[in-house]
Amino acid sequence: MGVEDLVGVEPACSAPGPVVGRADSDPILRTEKVGKSFGGLVALEDASIRAHLGEVTGIMGPNGAGKTTLFNVITGNLGATTGRVFVKGHDASRFSPYRIARLGVARTFQSPRVFPSLRVVDNVILGRYPLAGEKALSALFGRVRVAKRERAAREEALEALGSVGLLDCADELACNLGYAQRKIIEIARGVMQDAELFLLDEPFSGIHGEVVSRMEGTICGLRERGAAVCLIEHNVGALTRLADYVYVLNEGRLIAEGTSREIRTNPVVIEAYLGKERARVLTAGDH
């Protein structure tokens, strides 16, 4: 990473409103001192974050900082060792992943979890819950009603695909799509889910060129729809351009939080990323 990543980046979203009243408004997601240990290894400790509707919240940190662990704790894929997770005011600390999802939380994975043997449009339809015809009995005996609902769901899925620019491969099998497109399918699934909170785990890893700006556009689109977006990224440039508010994790602990601008110039952050020596040079130049 170069110095240019840390200074002077323009915000990506068209209306990067200042973060107002974070302390006052109710966050859609709040973690309270969550920690996770695997045996003797502490992966995450005392992490308290908040995410608000209409904002992009960035979670930044070097590899192994505990970012994905934090996501896994929030989505119930891992049980927290300590602390609590609140989604929309519900204590969701002990919820399993499917119950978290039903609260309106969509999640993407570092390596996308799409369903390769299904068509893209079916991948997206599955974002919706509940769907008519998913109970075995109604699948056998309520076929007319199911078919009607199914058509409506398909229309909506196509709309969601259109909103992320994947409409032309709707009827392809997902296994024929590339890595970047799979990442976008996951987001479309969240749109179909009507999710209010999107947890995106490194949406920019492994994608290049034109796709990057499309991904940025997609994320800004979610924010403009009024959803809360939580974004894991270790690329500081991409993250600070998108995020309204940033948390920085290092070695399982939160070492800094603040607006993108504050984070970019925070000596603690620069030190965690670039080492002490470079950090002193940089911050000295700033003042």
């Binding site: 499917y98 390769p116 043997s117 599955l126 998913e134 075995a136």
Partner: protein, 291 residues
């Protein structure tokens, strides 16, 4: 010769039902069971006991056999919700062996190795469905209904979420589906079909003992599903043709007595290994993974 053909057709159709249920669980649900024979046994014993001890008719017994197998299968899947893949297979394999052992040793109920004799032939509107062509018709109707049911399920939104779970269970959970419940329903449906097959077998054979329900049945079911092509609708049919009928041809070859059974087992194993080596997705399998 004619009687032999009809007998083979009946056994073939019953095994086809095992293949259909096993393919539903393994091919569509992605739950690699090696204990399918246990549910066949449960169906057969439920029907055998209900008809000989309680004098229950064939039709209630048919429903009961299916329901018992489904209930036990669903419960087994829930109890195994924390183990995955290889461990799941091992646990179902173990369940098959335990079931056999229980049938062998719970003498007061199952009559142990002596088995249950005198299971009556089924009746329809007061008429006995005789062994032979009428029974073949009954079995074929049952198989067609099961096959049709699976076909409807697979093409429905339920089938879609099942296949999604097979592809990527974590992704399905992230979409708000209760994976434990889904696995249980999937396992119960496949087991139901095995249970029904077991009932049909019991009333056909009129005598059952544990030796008809060894681990070999589970392996046979799995072989049919794998050879035909997991997760394909026609796969079980083709798999059953290859796996069940091919060894029958051995009857026409002059083999020393006693070695036919061993050769038959060798053929199952050989077919399984050959399929996995040459066409891992089965004879009809599509290649959807990779890339």
């Amino acid at each position: 010769m004619f009687a032999f053909v009809i007998h083979t057709a009946i056994i073939f159709t019953i095994f086809l039902m095992l293949a259909v249920g096993c393919n539903f669980i393994v091919g569509y649900g992605g739950l690699f069971t090696i204990g399918h024979g246990a549910f066949y046994a449960l169906g057969a014993y439920a029907a055998g006991l209900l008809s000989t001890k309680l004098g229950l008719g064939f039709w209630p017994g048919l429903a009961a056999g299916g329901v018992v197998a489904a209930a036990v299968g669903g419960a087994l899947a829930i109890s195994l919700s924390t183990v995955d893949e290889d461990y799941f297979s091992l646990a179902t394999f173990g369940f098959g062996i335990v079931t056999f052992t229980v049938l062998m040793n719970w003498f007061s109920v199952t009559n142990g190795a002596l088995g249950i004799a005198g299971i009556p032939a089924p009746t329809l509107f007061g008429l006995e469905i005789e062994s032979g062509v009428p029974y073949l018709a009954l079995v074929v109707v049952a198989a067609v209904l099961c096959y049709g049911g699976v076909w409807l399920l697979i093409r429905s939104p339920f089938g879609r979420v099942l296949q999604a779970m097979r592809d990527e269970a974590a992704g399905v959970a992230a979409c708000g589906r209760n994976v434990v419940w889904l696995k249980s329903v999937c396992f119960a449906i496949g087991s139901f079909i095995a249970g029904v097959a077991g009932v049909l077998y019991a009333h056909y054979a009129t005598y059952i003992d544990p030796t008809s329900f060894t681990v070999e049945v589970s392996i046979l079911s799995l072989s049919m599903a794998v050879v035909g092509g997991l997760g394909t609708l026609a796969g079980p049919l083709l798999g059953a043709v290859v796996v069940v009928l091919a060894p029958e041809l051995l009857r026409f070859v002059d083999l020393p007595a006693g070695s036919a059974g061993l050769i038959r087992q060798g053929i199952y194993g050989g077919l399984l290994v050959l399929t996995l080596a040459i066409r891992p997705a089965g004879l009809l399998g599509r290649r959807t993974r990779g890339g």
